[in-house]
């Protein structure tokens, strides 16, 4: 078996590699990452070449391909530069909610803009510091004639303050508690009464903005409802699964990028008159790193291909996410150690890969949450 990507997939991979090589400038990345900005011309070029929304249908400027192709892009981009790759791949964060559950009209209005690089999207889901508590939602949307009036406050919104459209979880059934009675409604970034506050200074993933959003009588058309009324949490959970696949691929690419940099270094650097790569302990570290990457690769590609075949298993996705994020953290951490003092210096990029890796591990949902998901699946499924 051995996962063999097809020829067209290989071409996509190569195109991504070439693009990253040509456009991801190390100094630019360094400056932008510190400034917590993404170079918009890189995004525009990427969009022009079709690298954003490759999994959207062609009528919305996508390429009609699968998550697996998107995974290959994410991996290549993050391998070259974790921060740039993350920034680019999260351009259309949460737009999959529209893709999977939205009406054609919503798809046409928003997916096209995202794929063409004109707008970003983000999720306005959580109201809790934990980042993942979708049940405990107080933001609510009241139906008045042809519009929803949204009031409330969201926290930790990806692309917060930058996105053209947010996918908002709102309580639409006033009497409901918990996950029931919550719906997903789109709000455009420039809506009146919508304010981005408290932009975060982050550990990693710094080319993507994160902020809170305040909704003060934000009025959006009724047609902005995504999917079914009252099913917002279920849709959000399905989206998390899909998002975790992409995140795993970004982490996998980050791990690979860190590994190659470390490998390059230990082959050249000498210690006590011997190449670092000649020490058994160094070699065993390389073996561990390579094995972590190999494992993550298998798990990530599998869940991506499964998703494309209409099979999606939250437990396996959580395993892929855990293994890829752990590989990214471990490999970049060990790479820093192998480079010694240089590893700690920003110039050698690895400290940035490590910060990005650790941030992705948190963004994915922490280890405890992932293990809860895995265990739930096991105990429910295995007879």
């Amino acid at each position: 078996m051995s996962f063999k990507i097809s020829k067209p997939q290989k071409e996509i991979q190569k195109a991504a590699r070439d693009f990253a090589k040509g456009e991801f400038d190390k100094d630019l990345a360094f400056d932008m990452e510190r400034a917590q900005k993404f170079p918009e011309d890189v995004r525009n070029k990427a969009a022009g070449l079709g690298f954003i929304g490759i999994h959207y249908p062609e009528e919305y400027y996508g390429a009609g391909l699968g998550i697996l192709e998107n995974v290959l892009l994410a991996e290549e981009f993050c391998k070259k530069d974790s921060s740039m790759g993350i920034g680019l791949m999260l351009s259309g964060f949460a737009a999959e909610c529209i893709l999977r559950f939205g009406t054609d009209s919503l798809k046409d209005r928003f997916l096209s803009g995202i794929a063409s690089g004109e707008m970003l999207s983000g999720e306005a889901f959580t109201e809790s510091v934990s980042g993942y508590d979708t049940g405990d939602i107080k933001t609510w949307a009241q139906k008045k004639e042809d519009a929803w009036i949204i009031n409330g406050q969201k926290t930790l919104v990806t692309n917060g303050g930058k996105a053209g459209v947010y996918c908002v979880l709102c309580r639409t059934d006033p009497g409901s508690i918990g996950a029931d009675g919550i719906s997903m409604i789109l709000a455009e970034g420039n809506s009146e009464g919508l304010l981005s506050v408290n932009p975060r200074d982050k550990l990693g993933m710094r080319m993507v903005s994160t902020s809170d959003l305040v909704f003060n009588n934000v009025k959006v058309p009724c047609s902005n409802l995504v999917g079914k009324q009252g099913k917002g949490v279920l849709q959000a959970l399905a989206f998390y699964d899909e998002a975790r696949i992409l995140l795993s691929a970004m982490a996998l690419g980050t791990a690979r990028g860190a590994f190659l940099r470390a490998l390059d270094y230990v082959r050249q650097r000498e210690l006590f008159g011997k190449k670092l790569a000649g020490f058994q302990v160094t070699r065993h570290k390389l073996a561990d790193m390579a094995m972590g990457i190999n494992i993550a690769e298998h798990l990530v590609y599998e869940v991506a291909a499964d998703f494309d075949s209409g099979r999606s298993d939250s437990g396996r996705i959580a395993m892929a996410g855990l293994s890829a994020c752990q590989a990214a953290i471990d490999v970049s951490s060990e790479a820093i150690q192998l480079l010694g003092g240089y590893g700690y210096m920003a110039e050698y990029e690895l400290e940035r890969f490590y910060r990005d890796a650790k941030s992705m591990g948190i963004f994915l949902g922490n280890t405890g949450m992932m293990k809860d998901i895995i265990a739930k699946n096991i105990i429910e499924k295995i007879k």
Binding site: S130, Q337, G340, G341, Y354
Partner: protein, 380 residues
């Protein structure tokens, strides 16, 4: 069983230093981090209040206190959210070279300033081509008409910008055996031919002014030789025990701080109406980390006691250096994972700790060097 016997004087000193931290350090920590620099004035205040070089003898302007005062300062410093005012490097790693190996003239000239904070010190060992392997340094010193001419460069030098006095390791190009070719010299700031490079951009320790230093026909008087010529290696070896021990004390206290902060945070942060700390897996994580921290503290305190009795514990301090710095990094990683999304935010104190701690398994001899030393002592 309490290993360390703190007296009331020690406790009073700790209280006094805590007040100082609260008044002079904590309010400035953010600014220093942003500036990537601690103002010299802050060092002077430390000196004026008697918090620099607690162990320097009174005849050289010091308070002549015991090593427990050093421990107190490091412990409190570990909780200040800044690493730039890296007083233990100055007080307990660099200055002891001067006090132990310096000539009477050198001691009289420099030590009072080191104690008062008028002289900030740095030590120059590492070079672009030589990190853990000191024998391969290539900065050279040649004697010429009562002077010494230094050429070469050093990198990753803490206090590199602020330093008023540098202890530099150099090689005599005429001596082949590298272990007999290395000497230490004192170089004052502003000596012609001694140039400080820009601050290096690092992952963390942002308030720390780490720099490259360049020497181009830098002339210093022969009197600036520290100790004897060609015994640089030996002098370094003699000071490794205290260097590793102080690093261990810092790493241990950082690890404890990370754990304590996380426990408090998880007790006080509710998700879905339950504190984060009510989760069994979080509780087990805390139980495991608390156990390791407890063992590590006992180990380090025992080493402090032995060190104060002047025992040879160079192997044990190598163990402690690797174990504590490794533990501190594991704790930071695990605790960030436990607390959830707030862990991505630079406002979260653990984030800075994660960035700052990452260098501890690298500096003062990488943890791989430590393990090699331990293994060597086992005569494998």
């Amino acid at each position: 069983m309490n290993i360390l016997k703190y007296s009331e004087k020690h406790s009073a000193f700790r209280e006094k230093f805590r007040a100082f931290v609260k008044k002079e350090i904590l309010p400035n920590a953010e600014k220093w981090e942003q500036d990537h620099m601690v103002p010299k004035q802050a060092w002077k205040k430390m000196g004026q209040e008697g918090f620099l070089c607690p162990c320097v003898q009174p005849e050289y302007g010091g308070p002549g206190l015991d090593f427990l005062y050093t421990v107190i300062i490091i412990e409190e410093m570990a909780r200040t959210r800044q690493t730039g005012l890296i007083s233990y490097l100055h007080s307990d790693i660099i200055v002891p070279y001067i006090e132990s190996f310096g000539s009477e003239w050198q001691k009289k000239k420099y030590l009072p300033g080191c104690v008062s904070g008028d002289i900030i010190t740095a030590v120059g060992m590492t070079e672009p081509g030589a990190g853990s392997d000191l024998a391969s340094i290539s900065t050279i010193a040649v004697e010429e008409e009562g002077h010494v001419i230094i050429n070469g460069s050093k990198t990753f030098i803490s206090n590199g910008i602020n330093c008023d006095l540098l202890i530099i390791a150099v090689k005599d190009p005429l001596i082949e055996n590298p272990h007999k070719a290395i000497s230490l010299y004192l170089v004052e700031d502003k000596t012609p031919g001694f140039k400080k490079g820009g601050k290096l951009e690092k992952m963390g320790m942002h308030s720390q002014d780490t720099a490259e230093l360049f020497f181009t026909n830098c002339r210093i008087p022969v009197e600036n030789l520290l100790g004897e010529k060609g015994v640089g290696f030996v002098m370094l070896m003699k000071k490794l025990q205290q260097e590793r021990l102080t690093c261990s004390i810092m790493a241990l206290n950082k690890a404890e701080y990370v754990l304590e902060w996380t426990i408090e945070y998880c007790k006080n942060t509710q998700v879905s109406g339950r504190p984060l700390s009510s989760s069994q897996s979080v509780q087990f994580a805390f139980a495991e980390m608390a156990t390791e921290a407890r063992m590590s503290r006992l180990f380090v305190e025992n080493l402090i006691a032995d060190h104060m009795e002047k025992k040879d514990i160079v192997i044990e301090t190598s163990m402690a250096k690797y174990q504590t710095s490794d533990m501190a990094n594991r704790f930071a990683n695990r605790c960030l994972d436990i607390i959830g999304s707030y862990a991505m935010d630079e406002q979260c104190p653990l984030v800075r700790e994660l960035r700052d701690l990452k260098v501890m398994p690298i500096f003062a001899g990488t943890n791989e060097i430590m393990k090699g030393i331990i293994a060597k002592s086992m005569k494998l």
